[in-house]
Symmetry: C2
Subunit: 371 residues, 2 copies
């Protein structure tokens, strides 16, 4: 992996150098991990002008560095943060200044105003520029190794969900179902859950931002589950809605079919060159036409990768177009207060039609199962 | 609770108003929660000049606001974030400017440079000042209601740990033990784990920043467990080290007694008026004198509350003195590469001698147990 990270740093250097920066300081943890294979808590990466083997990871004091170092790009220099200077970004700016760097690009969307000020004070005559979201931009399109990590993460989430569905659900609480799913994720080799597992039953099903409660699953409920696995840092998600009992009510079938149609429309809109907002519109239109309001926080989906919620945003106000090899979620939902609702959520990779169209990573069935 | 939050906001207003700010914008999530009882994701709090019932919580779009609102201070105004403006801080600055506010204090240690710039642009002629860590300062000393939440959180963590110790440990992996502890925390009524549970066995025991692995517990191991519970938002932690098997080796007894003595020295140093660095020194001195280096990231302990790691820092370079009713951890550790090590971690509340001295919240025994 060491070559991959070095060439990512070289690519980044080619992006910021023309803007007049001699060096760059990367502080956003997922960006640090992307560029050097690990991100110990509090570590920052200083990308110097010399070449990838002169780049420096500045890490907080303590043996925490040891285990992290084993996963690190071997060509990276490792500097421990002095105890008297608790902020690695400030320390890295000092190193850059000492090495004769005059212009340093920093992540202004991540550094706080106070850290930025401390950094400027420490670095003396150094001129600070904005690296902006250059690393996030670079992370947008995934290579095949990244996609294969996402594929494994999706398999793990599908397995955990599949096993849960074979057990008896009635009478168990949302919280216990969520915990069991998280245990199963780990059993199947996940780093951990990609985000806190969401389980909503009855009136809680399909509610945006729901946190599992002590509500027990009952006959006749909608049961809505959304979970994700992390694998080697890469995170995916899957969400499904089920009916508890022998046969769903008419309103449940109707609502399910509607959300399913919206989700399918969103999935089918995924293609290289499609505007982000068009994917949102495709799914949202189906719900609008039936008189329902989408209930998932103003967007139909989002990118996934080293973060569970990263660029692009598939929302009405998003600017930009999809590229091939961009993994995204498509996850419309509808919630009826007091009755519950439906959410269907997949992770897919955008592919051209010649490559077979969007690649579905989360393959758990989307039939309405009565459990 | 609504009165508590309103009076906290009044107190904050009295702190910043003399510095020339007419209003304050609080964006740090734990600070938002402290001042209004809930912190929906992405929400910010605008404290206006008029009085606590004119303060405004600006929340992202979507039904997420509904459940949060039920826990909110009823005297607070709630404004939903418009979809075209995804940042609540920017929106709140606009509201302040529209209400005729000319000087607004913001949290420069939390707002990124990019958000701060967007906020300044949106708010036109508004002059931005630094609220700095005024809310964190206010959160330092806890009231009895906050301490009783911490006490319950500690009880839950003690219970979960106590139950685990009654089960068979040999042959189980660090990851499974960590998961079981987290399940038990929830069983006993925790909101969730206060932080990712740390379990280290054999050479991993006592390693700083260790993440549970598939290493199984073996006869003769040190087993080091550190966990915490959250209860109504308040987080505490407890850490213990055990020996697996019938009788500990001499080096294990010696190392345990040393860390125990260091931890006791740290606990005994807790008193109103003691400098933060004196607590650190008291514990560290014991390890230094025996020729060992403290292995827990450059500080002996830290404050706990709505965050698991908050002010004060009990480190060699910390400035300031302890007050009564400040809850802190005392958690020295030593790690011997290849062999493992010991960490002992308690949460205590600083109390005057007249009030009985430091109040130990985590009461699991600190005898060296052979399990």
């Amino acid at each position: 992996m060491s070559e991959v990270h070095a060439s990512r740093r070289t690519l980044l250097r080619e992006r910021y150098a023309p803007a007049g920066a001699q060096a760059a300081l990367v502080s956003q943890p997922a960006n640090v991990r992307y560029l050097c294979g690990a991100a110990p808590v509090g570590a920052v990466l200083l990308i110097g002008p010399a070449g990838p083997d002169q780049d420096t990871l500045v890490c907080p004091i303590g043996p925490a560095v040891e285990p992290a170092a084993t996963r690190l790009d071997s060509e990276l220099r490792l500097v421990a943060l002095p105890e008297e200077e608790p902020d690695a970004a400030v320390s890295a700016a000092g190193l850059a200044a000492a090495a004769g760097v005059e212009t340093l690009a920093v992540e202004e969307h991540h550094l706080s105003v106070a850290r930025h000020r401390a950094l400027a004070a420490r670095a003396g005559g150094l001129r600070l520029l904005d690296l902006a979201r250059a690393v996030e931009q670079q992370r947008l399109i995934k290579d095949e190794e990244e996609i294969s990590c996402l594929r494994i993460a999706a398999e793990i989430a599908d397995q955990a969900l599949g096993e849960l569905l074979e057990s008896i659900l009635v009478g168990r609480t949302e919280r216990h179902l969520a915990l069991e799913l998280e245990r199963r994720l780990i059993d199947h080799g996940a780093d951990g859950p990609a985000f806190p597992t969401m389980v909503g039953a009855g009136p809680n099903a399909g509610r945006f931002g729901h946190t599992p409660t002590d509500r027990r699953v009952e006959e006749g409920d909608f049961l809505c589950i959304c979970l994700g696995a992390g694998y080697r840092g890469y995170r995916c998600e899957v969400g499904r809605t089920f009916v508890i009992g022998t046969s769903p009510a008419d309103w449940q079938i109707e609502l399910y079919e509607l959300v399913f149609a919206a989700q399918r429309a969103g999935r089918e809109a995924l293609a290289p060159g499609t505007a982000y907002r068009e994917v949102d519109r495709a799914a949202r239109h189906v719900l609008d036409a039936a008189g329902y309001e989408e209930s998932f926080g103003g967007r139909i989906g989002h990118g996934v990768g080293l973060e569970i919620d990263e660029d692009p945003r598939l929302s009405p106000s998003a600017m930009g177009k999809l590229d091939a090899c961009v993994p995204v979620t498509v996850e419309p939902g509808v919630h009826l207060p007091g009755r519950g609702g439906v959410r269907i959520d997949d992770t897919l990779v955008v592919r051209s039609e010649a490559d077979g169209g969007p690649e579905l990573l989360t393959i758990t069935t989307k039939e309405l199962l009565a459990l």
